[in-house]
Symmetry: C2
Subunit: 461 residues, 2 copies
């Protein structure tokens, strides 16, 4: 045991019935409880008992017959409300949710996360996405990719200014003097930029973390520029150690260029452990789940990413029509994961069935099939090898797949000194080992100490 | 006991430190816990133990130094997140929250409430407001009053269509067939109106209540037209039995004109019980709380409603400059409550101090000062007299004022046969005795039965 050795960050990607597209069809999947708070809370408490850093709820804005409707791999409810409900039913685990900067008013978003951070006692995290779909639901034309990030950058200025509009010592509860909150500690903001005009202050006192932890998963140039400016946690899908290490190195370089400490940014590649009592049993389990995929809907899910290739009419065990695939540099969406599929189809010559089984399993995230010890070994190799600061864990199936993670995998990592036995702090920022904004958020002269709240990128207000 | 006699609806207006503007200054107010989920949940569970129908969280969009900052009478966190957090910590009580139709994307709002209804097992309620402020926070010019309601009307069409886009039997969990949800039970919507263009379906399965209960509190002509079309619960501020009865009669007339059953709309005037062991003790308590008001901020709060009258420089015990007051028909805001203040100033010749004490107490809602028995008597008189279907209870101070309500007042009403001893159902709609959309939401021929989901006002989709 090396209690002072570097610790992995472990995040649970929430999926109630299993992230593998075939998982919900297993007899014990409890898919009937997909939309219940009871089952969701049970899963998250299991992660909390294992002392995981956080749970993460992903979110897509539209309804996708292929990806969502037919495969309830993603949590079906809205993230912010779900995380708020979990706030009262958990005590320590971080609560990270996706909200799009393209379709939510910044003043509203600032309120949702300030509230969530209060309600959870400092455990809120925001996965910032710019959404590649969504316009149809909001009566807006789809904005070009880089413009979505330009909008997102201004958005972050606005919400940070709102979160910083109350000093940490604004609320004084001075009964005798009749002052609940000091007006001179609450600051007006008047943001006027190309995308947003927002007056403040916020109408919610400063929350325990000052602002939510920022997670981000952009993989394009614009996405990485944005992520290296704002991100505390970086989610990424990487096929192998070498590319994960390259990504992390590149990313840390950009963080340094921004004048930030790379140690304050946690890069978490996705990892799906498929665990069995033996390597062979794990492989059999992986095949068994994959056999449960519904072929036609898996085809649609694949085409949702790759574009319409007429795959339904082709031989499942034949090659893909690679000549119809867009080159990755022309792809406007989740590019890293597209690149992985592209590579498998073009260079590794996967058949249609092989490729859709690959995607149905972990959607481009790294699958590791073996015993808990073997999975732990691989995670340690990535971690020690500079490929990851921890992992975003995708649970293939439930309850078995989660039991294997919390009951077998995490104890091994703990035993080996790579993962905590107890939470040391109470906030998500503390779990992740990130700077905590000073409790007063003020410098020695009593002025707001903007640096201590890590908002150096926010224009003065 | 008359178990089958008509029952009052009782709603708790949530205030953590007391709704009376002087209440938070009392030594036992626990104002230090204002933003904690723990204290909020404790209060709501106390209301649930008393079997109240619902708790309601009001919301204003801006930050008002006078009304909010200095008097933490209103819940300081964002309603939807707070109610979601309460969903997991309560079992039966309804959860009603204010969200503005003017500044929230309908697709987002539909998701928040569908989620809240799932998370709470059918206890969600939405207090629909059009907001008289808010433009500054959203970079928008203030819309004229009646246009806000025109927008709200289209808004309701959109969100109801989204909530109705999944039939109740869409999710089939058919493992063998590989179908989680039936595509033919999920309906596309393509709303295109003057204010909104929204594509659907929603990306969340139909929730237990189908949609949240609709609360509404508009008092203008446009507001009442809107409320009589959509409202299940009507909040109102009424100074006395006669005017409350007039309001309820008028309102029920309008409901009838819309082809709806007036029995399906619950009119709940606000009522603040200030309870003491004797009438005299109650009066002393009322004075004691009123004495705790901070005079300058109470003046600002009054001028926030009445307009700038230079009251700070006038003799507190002199008359108001009534010649500067706008006639009620020119007032663009919460008109009923303005009318009450106007009447007290102009016709009852209240001094400045009397008027601000009046407003600081219950902000225009009906205060009843006396023993629990006397308060119960007055509530029964209003209820039997056709002035109310129940009440929106404003707690003057906590914990004492809430203890008096749950420990003394409610038991008397129960004893007299006016209030339930146990919840009969599990959803808010059931508590209120409102129609519940059929579990399948389909007619005998298997087609969506729109009437049973009470969406007759929604255009066909
Ligand atoms: C682990 C992980 C989780 C993600 N979650 C979401 C999500 O919840 N919603 C979403 O719209 N995109 C999500 N994405 C996609 C990214 O946020 C991003 O939109 C995508 O990688 C495209 O970024 P780019 O435009 O910078 O290439 C996720 C990506 C990863 C790797
Ligand atoms: C009990 C009660 C609660 C209310 N809650 C809110 C609220 O939370 N937010 C808000 O903006 N207005 C609130 N109002 C104001 C009304 O919704 C409405 O905006 C106001 O009466 C003006 O309506 P009108 O424009 O139709 O006259 C409330 C009114 C009452 C009586």
């Amino acid at each position: 045991m090396m209690p002072d050795s570097p610790q992995m960050c472990l995040n649970l990607f929430l999926s109630v019935a299993g992230y593998h597209a075939g998982a919900w069809r297993r007899p014990d999947s409890r898919v009937e409880e997909l939309t219940t708070l009871g089952r969701t809370a049970e899963i998250v408490r299991q992660a909390e008992d294992a002392k995981l850093d956080a749970v993460f709820i992903a979110d897509l804005l539209g309804w996708h017959d292929n990806d969502f409707g037919k495969h309830p791999r993603m949590h079906p409810l809205e993230p912010i409300t779900t995380l708020a409900a979990l706030a009262g039913l958990t005590e320590r685990i971080g609560l990270i949710g996706t909200v799009s900067t393209s379709y939510t008013e910044p003043y509203n978003l600032a309120r949702y996360f300030a509230s969530l951070d209060h309600l959870s006692g400092g455990r809120a995290g925001w996965n910032i996405v710019t959404s590649y779909g969504g316009g149809e639901q909001f009566g807006r034309d789809r904005e070009p990719h880089d413009e979505r990030y330009a909008r997102a950058t201004e958005y972050l200025e606005v919400v940070c200014a709102l979160w910083d509009s109350w000093d940490a010592d604004a609320v004084v509860n001075d009964r005798a003097g009749g002052t609940w909150a000091r007006a001179d500690r609450i600051h007006r903001i008047d943001h006027a930029g190309p995308y947003y005009q927002v007056a403040g202050p916020l109408n919610i006192p400063r929350s325990p973390q000052g602002r939510p932890v920022f997670a981000q998963a952009g993989s394009s140039e614009a996405g990485m520029a944005f992520g290296s400016t704002f991100g505390d946690v970086i989610f990424t899908a990487q096929p192998d150690l070498a590319s994960a290490r390259r990504f992390r190195e590149t990313f840390r370089g950009r963080v340094r260029v921004r004048g930030r400490d790379p140690g304050s940014v946690k890069v978490l590649p996705g990892l799906m452990p498929i665990i069995g009592p033996s390597e062979r049993a794990a492989r059999e389990l992986a095949d068994e789940i994959a056999d449960a995929i519904d072929y036609p809907s898996a085809v649609r899910a694949l085409e949702w990413v790759l574009g319409d290739l007429g795959l339904a009419d082709r031989d499942p065990d034949g090659p893909l029509p690679v000549e119809l695939l867009k080159p990755p540099e022309e792809f406007d969406g989740g590019r890293t994961r597209y690149e992985i599929l592209y590579r498998l189809a073009v260079h590794e010559r996967y058949t249609i069935r092989e490729l859709l089984r690959y995607r149905a399993r972990a959607a481009g995230h790294h699958p590791v099939i073996g015993t808990a010890g073997q999975v732990a070994e691989e995670m340690i190799e990535w971690f020690d090898g500079g490929a990851a600061d921890g992992f975003n864990l995708l649970v293939p199936h439930l309850p078995g797949g989660l039991d294997a993670i919390t009951g077998e995998l995490v104890p091994i990592l703990r035993e080996r000194g790579y993962f905590r036995a107890e939470y040391a702090g109470t906030t998500l920022r503390e779990h992740l080992g990130l700077d905590v904004p000073g409790p007063a958020g003020r410098d020695d002269a009593g002025r707001p100490d903007r640096a201590s709240s890590r908002s150096t990128f926010v224009k003065g207000i």
